[in-house]
Amino acid sequence: MCIAVPGEVIELFPPEGRVKIMGVETTVNIQLIDDLKAGEHVLIHAGCAIEKINQNYYNDLLDIFKSMVDGNEKEDG
């Protein structure tokens, strides 16, 4: 229901910032994110960064699977 794309922050000029999304650059609002730094990745929805993306992109997911396959997964949170 909410298309969002990941982008890398190139430059900050609050309340906006420049992000790179798979080869294209665009300007997004960054007011919803605290302490954003260039080089970090953000999730962008409707022209607005809505959250930072953890740099260890798939690791959490893969870890979970590893643990599941190992049979010792646990409920989250």
Partner: protein, 334 residues
């Protein structure tokens, strides 16, 4: 020349003559055009001729990779090429709004002239109308074209196993236009694929016997064009998602806008249906053409016992239907 096109430039009188002379004859110059009166006359041909028409209403008029003029010439050339015809002559009808910028008109004419010279195609007859402010949004161009069908080519019945080739990355034109139309503030190496395809035809001359069908996936994009081919052939199409050439920027922008690149117009690409045996050679040949380096075989035709649909094997190995465009493509956030 005045700096704006006025109603007088379309009244058929002196102003019209001046406009034709100073812009159109200047940039499209050739004997047949300059000597034509109500119609241009040229030597007929033995063989079969192809005839096509398209009106071009693109907005914006100038876009990365081209403008409406280049598009108008390429579009009709490409429709002739898909009929296996060597494009010879074009007609060109301008409809302009009074007040249209004369410099922009000349820029458009220049790119039409350039594309003609590059392809050896001649605009031999034309028409200019100027309508009242508000009666048209800027400029519309119609081109019609005549070409000689290459003797070795005729559309053939499509059979199971025939391969589907696309001559380059898809969706570049449509995506470029969408970005401009919806004023999406993105920057990147995005440009229309707008390009004449007649050189491909020349190169494919030796393979005409193995080429079953050609089609340019313009409005409605690759998906719609393949569905049209399906209607003609009656045979199902299987596409391989991974094989479809598409540049990263195009992918990225379409993801952002919630649009599907399969439905975006290409203006310099051709679908070629080719006998499986020769498909490798043809692909190599096509890839040697300028602008076709990314050409790829993206699928093939299914046996008649399977339902006549266009289906696609997805990147994860799933299979789904790819229907024709139904309804407009609008940028979405949901």
């Amino acid at each position: 020349m005045k700096d704006k096109v006025t109603l007088r430039h379309g009244d058929g009188g002196k102003h019209t003559s001046i406009l034709i002379r100073d812009i159109f004859h200047k940039h499209f110059h050739n004997e047949l055009l300059v000597n034509s009166l109500d119609a241009a006359v040229f030597d007929g041909h033995h063989g079969r001729l192809a005839f096509t028409t398209d009106s071009f209403v693109v907005k914006p008029l100038v876009f990365p990779g081209g403008d409406i003029g280049k598009l108008a010439v390429c579009g009709t050339i490409n429709d002739l090429v898909t009929a296996g015809a060597r494009p010879l002559y074009l007609s060109c009808g301008f409809i302009m709004e009074e007040g249209f910028d004369m410099k922009l008109l000349e820029k458009i004419a220049v790119s039409m002239g350039e594309t003609c010279r590059k392809t050896g195609v001649k605009i031999i007859t034309g028409d200019t109308k100027v309508v009242e402010k508000g009666s048209v949004d800027g400029i519309f161009i119609n081109t019609s074209g005549i070409g000689v069908v290459q003797t070795a080519y005729q559309p053939k019945s499509i059979e199971e196993g025939d391969q589907i080739m696309i001559t380059g990355g898809i969706a570049q034109h449509g995506t470029t236009i969408a970005v401009k139309r919806y004023e999406i503030k993105v920057e990147g190496n995005m440009k229309s694929d707008c390009m004449p395809l007649n050189h491909i035809l020349e190169r494919l001359q030796p393979y005409m016997g193995s080429i079953k069908l050609m089609k340019d996936p313009t409005r409605g994009g690759l998906a719609t064009a393949l569905n049209e081919i399906l209607e003609v052939s009656g045979k199902g199409v299987l596409l391989l998602e991974e094989a479809i050439p598409i540049v990263g920027e195009v992918k990225s922008i379409n993801q952002m806008l919630g649009l599907d690149p399969l439905y975006h117009a290409c203006e310099g690409r051709m679908i070629i249906v080719v006998d499986k045996q020769k498909s490798g050679e043809v692909l190599e040949e096509v890839r040697r053409c300028e602008g076709c380096e990314d050409a790829a075989i993206i699928g093939g035709f299914l046996p008649t016992n399977l339902p006549p649909k266009v289906v696609m094997d997805t990147v994860i190995g799933g299979r789904r239907i790819v229907g024709p465009l139904e309804g407009d493509m609008l940028p979405r956030i949901c």
